[in-house]
Symmetry: C2
Subunit: 301 residues, 2 copies
């Protein structure tokens, strides 16, 4: 399973970066290989100062070895070996009418001292963070998520949409990071779902990413915008930074387990503003977005 | 003691904001009062888009009531009542040749159910975060810190300089947030120091703040700078954000105990950049700063 999934994310990284370069039309991804001293490493691909993408990363990694102490505590286990691989992406477009997107698909194995697998699971998801609310974009993104889920289980979309809203709740701001999407974790073998079934589900979601996001980018990337709208985007990006550095388990985990900092923090936006006590005008487009972030809605039924 | 110190920080807030407005010559502090539902509140003063100060806050607060659960765990105590007051300030100048500064002076009392004080202590400090290294500025700032300390105890400067370097270590970046200064906490009654002695020490440091910082601002505020130097400042401000959101106990504490978000996060800089895997040129002024941040030095002997 680990070879099968690692091959999948390598291919998916190629597919996604090729397509995004085509959409951007100008910038190319820069590739960095890195090694983890304790075992494994990654292939980081970052795009900057593009025509469409101001900054973004589409990174894969596969790491293994003794489970670090902090992760033992986190999982509530004793000494164990582990293998983990995944693809993580974040894209920050230049144009404030184009939403930021995040996605991640990952697989984890834990072994006893004899090297036998004692636990294994998939996790992942994808979510959209716009700066201006176009309801049709939210509907499109969620509809693609739902279609991918529905092929595997009738409960998956509603369950994982809900988990996504819970996970990306920026608690100290009392608002969602964005419009949500899917979030799932600890997807383990059950009577209903074999690990191969989970593989089929997770890769179905991975395969859906470009069709969930690219049509929105194509529709919005040539929109005109004002300096005020760009300022609003940079202020909202501040909330993205706050979520990632204060609440995001993946980011904190990476920072506290000696991950490759530049690959982890590629998720942070290129230009960001913090303005004291900023509130958009009543009835404005900016306020319309905040209302949806304060009370997540159902995008598809 | 609590009335005496709260009166002190009210007066100090006035003194500092008046002086900074004079130095800025353009912008004025905007004042907000806020109330804590569980008891107490604060007076926040924020300056934005000034001639010298791009953003900054000089805030006081005095809060009291039942010690929140998270603070009980933090202090390792059971149910108790508390009183805490303090002044916190952060200033982000526009010109990259002028350093950012942070300072904080605070007092804490804990009570048993009969309302008797069972514990009380002072804490605080002040530290400098430049974007370009002017050694004479570092020496000046630390000399003022040392002079204030030496009036009270010959060990204070070296002890609190060291604690400052330890506290502001941005662990995931393997570097200091800045050039340090002073950091002290849990300053409690001992055979040598009464609470009044500690009050005299902490207020000595508070009184020294303007003479530690303002001469540096005056010397640098009219320096010319390039767009590249401004970019460097914004990238370094990113590290400031990372420290405050990932490591700073005060910030995380505020966020997790339902403090007033806008007063806590006034510390975040106005314009910030994150550039993937940025490294200054070998031998550049930017690299010179990084070397000192990687290995804090003694500024005064």
């Amino acid at each position: 399973m680990k070879d099968q999934f690692y091959q999948y994310i390598q291919d998916l990284q190629d597919t996604i970066t090729h397509k995004l370069e085509e959409v951007d039309g100008e910038a190319k991804f820069k590739q960095d290989f890195w090694k983890r001293p304790e075992g494994g490493g990654g292939r980081t691909r970052v795009i900057e100062n593009g025509n469409v993408f101001e900054k973004g990363g589409v990174n894969i990694s596969a790491v293994h070895g003794a489970l670090p102490k902090t992760m033992q505590q986190y999982f509530g286990v004793d000494d164990a070996d582990f293998f983990a691989c995944g693809l993580s992406l974040v894209l920050h477009p230049k144009n404030p009418m184009v939403p930021t997107v995040h996605a991640n698909w990952r697989y984890f194995e834990m072994y006893n001292k004899e090297g036998t697998i004692v636990d294994q699971w998939f996790g992942g998801g994808q979510d959209l963070t716009p700066y201006y609310l176009f309801e049709e974009d939210g509907k499109h993104f969620h509809q693609i998520c739902k279609t991918a889920c529905d092929k595997h289980h009738t409960d998956f979309y509603s369950n994982y949409k809900k988990k996504c809203d819970e996970y990306f709740w920026n608690a100290h701001r009392n608002e969602e990071r964005g419009l949500g999407g899917l979030f799932f974790d600890y997807c383990k073998k059950t009577d209903e779902m074999s690990m191969q079934d989970w593989y089929n589900f997770v890769t179905e979601v991975g395969d859906s990413f470009l069709s969930a996001y690219v049509p929105i980018v194509e529709k919005r990337k040539n929109s005109t915008y004002t300096k005020e709208q760009r300022d609003w985007q940079e202020i909202r990006r501040g909330r993205y930074v706050e979520f990632n550095l204060v609440h995001d388990k993946g980011t904190l985990f990476g920072l506290k387990t000696n991950g490759r900092i530049e690959s982890i923090l590629m998720s942070l936006p290129p230009h960001v503003q913090w303005v004291y006590d900023h509130h958009p005008e009543v009835g404005s487009e900016e306020e319309k977005l905040l209302k949806v972030l304060a009370n997540p809605i159902d995008w598809v039924s």
